[in-house]
Point group: C2
Chain length 333, copies 2
């Protein structure tokens, strides 16, 4: 029997090691400082008796969407949606042939269309996001997201989510966190697919919105989407949106651009243990590399403040084993 003991112990060691390996909740993260900081925070706030313990109902974690949960280059994906909608709606709008910004868009000249600045952008958004019922808009989004492909990767937009961030969402939820999206994007643009893709139900999505109006049409109550801004959930709007929707200050917040800075500041300023993280896009090979000079997802003040205040800055290139789930497949194809 004696001889068996070392084997048995070895087997035991193997058996112990397996669950630890299989149980790594963040397998797409390299074992760098970012991952260690995430795990250290999650453990200290959930360990009963820890001085940093936070009761489960207060474990609110907020995530930006564009550039944080999924990619945002070369344009916000919602803008591709708007462009496709302009094309789809053009037959009903013969006047667009000569009317800017639509005329340029329909000729494929996006830059020309956006020469009109914010006003042009807003006209495009309202023409494509308002004028229908909430149920109709939900269907339009659901149909688009199921089929539209990203111009560079040729993948569905929902395939351009980041596995490390999906793992992080799942990990925090397993630790009793309630995870919210807090995005500058349209709240009703995200809700139709956020539950399936991120495990985040509609009631935990905060975003920008148009005004809606209750109406009864043919005896049926509907909500009509009006061509009027209700709320812009970006920059200083993010803490406002968080307060309006959640009514509780997050203890952890995740962003990637200066549009997330006030959300991070608001989160950091609460009492007790706090965690703020910025995804820094440093990987031109697997994704895109951009920060201080980018027109999309500009990260300038946020990068300085993160360094000054000791927030976690994810270096996408070094910290993430995988940026997209389809990477491996591409290599093997």
């Amino acid at each position: 029997m004696k001889k068996l003991i070392p084997f048995a112990l070895a087997g035991l060691g193997f058996a112990l090691a397996l669950p630890l390996m299989a149980g790594d909740p963040l397998p797409s993260w390299n074992d760098t400082a970012s991952k260690k900081a995430i795990v250290a925070f999650a453990e200290k706030v959930t360990k009963p008796g820890s001085p940093d313990f936070v009761p489960a109902p207060e474990r609110i974690a907020t995530f930006d969407n564009d550039g944080t949960l999924w990619a945002e280059q070369p344009m916000y994906f919602q803008f591709f949606f708007a462009l496709d909608r302009v094309k789809a709606l053009a037959p009903q709008h013969p006047e667009w042939k000569t009317q800017e910004p639509f005329a340029s868009l329909l000729k494929g000249d996006v830059k020309g269309a956006l020469k009109g600045g914010e006003k042009a952008m807003m006209e495009i958004v309202m023409a494509t996001h308002a004028g229908m019922t909430s149920d109709e808009f939900e269907k339009v989004v659901a149909d688009w997201i199921a089929t539209a492909k990203h111009p560079k990767t040729g993948k569905l937009y929902t395939e351009m989510v980041y596995p490390p961030m999906l793992e992080l969402l799942t990990y925090l939820r397993a630790k009793g966190f309630k995870t919210f999206i807090v995005s500058g994007g349209g709240i009703e643009f995200m809700r139709p697919w956020a539950e399936r893709v991120f495990g985040i139900p509609p009631e935990q999505v905060v975003g920008s919105s148009v005004k809606t109006k209750f109406d009864v049409r043919d005896g049926k109550p509907v909500l009509v989407r009006l061509p009027e801004v209700n709320f812009i959930d970006d920059g200083p709007g993010k803490p406002v949106g968080i307060n309006q929707h959640i009514g509780r200050r997050p203890i952890a917040a995740f962003g990637n651009s200066d549009g997330d800075l006030q959300m991070l500041q608001w989160t950091a300023a609460g009492p007790g243990a706090r965690f703020c993280l910025i995804v820094h896009h440093t990987d031109a090979a697997r994704e895109w590399a951009y920060d201080r000079q980018s027109s999309i997802g500009k990260l300038d003040k946020g990068l300085d403040e993160a360094k000054a205040r000791g927030w976690t800055v994810v270096d996408m290139k070094d910290d993430w084993k995988k940026v997209f789930a389809f990477e491996g497949k591409q290599k093997n194809e």
Copy 2:
């Protein structure tokens, strides 16, 4: 041993009966049609394989607050809060001595103050609900709700919640429902105590609101409450608020006044099994009796529509064993 068998069986029967009795989830409800309708609905939508089965994430139930979860006579309780705040703030506002509606209020003449109609009401609300940070307002509300007493019952306002409705909230949650408050009252007036009293966390409270603004004061980020209406969550505003906050149509809705009608219509109009309930205040002895003619909690169109559409109308007098938890105590005192 034979003799023991009947006893054993009797014991078994007793053992089986006990949990059933102890397990009545709605003990403050009489065994009338209202209770039966609630239980029948909850069971059919939660029974796997039932044609009416609804997956747990879609089990959204929305509850009005004033007159549905707690009393609302002789005035909305939030208005008593506003009056107390006018008194507390008066020393900082010497101009109120001669300025309406404050001058009348400070003399105890509420009717006189409200002669100015909606404009006067709005001035009172803004003077008492805006001009401070969100954290400061939360503390003011928490302090008030912990000590202020109702003028008629002499009880804390949080003691004037209805046990049958508390049981209903708990019952639905046990059945996998997510329960929300959707109230015309102030969202930030309810959140500081809704979790303790109703088991409803801040992120599941929908209500009226003032605009807020992100600011940094002495290096500290704050949200400042502005004297400007952001959203009125009443009447046709309720489906709008539900869509904005929850993004999913409720399958069950509970109200008591015409201000809840559109929420009930919106809920009823969805596909599949739906449940709409109106609390009818019929008990002048234990609470108040009012409906079509009441200036507070007017129930007129809603009563007609409920009857026409077969919604459940709770007759408070007949359907509820208990209206307030302190009733028994009063009798024994």
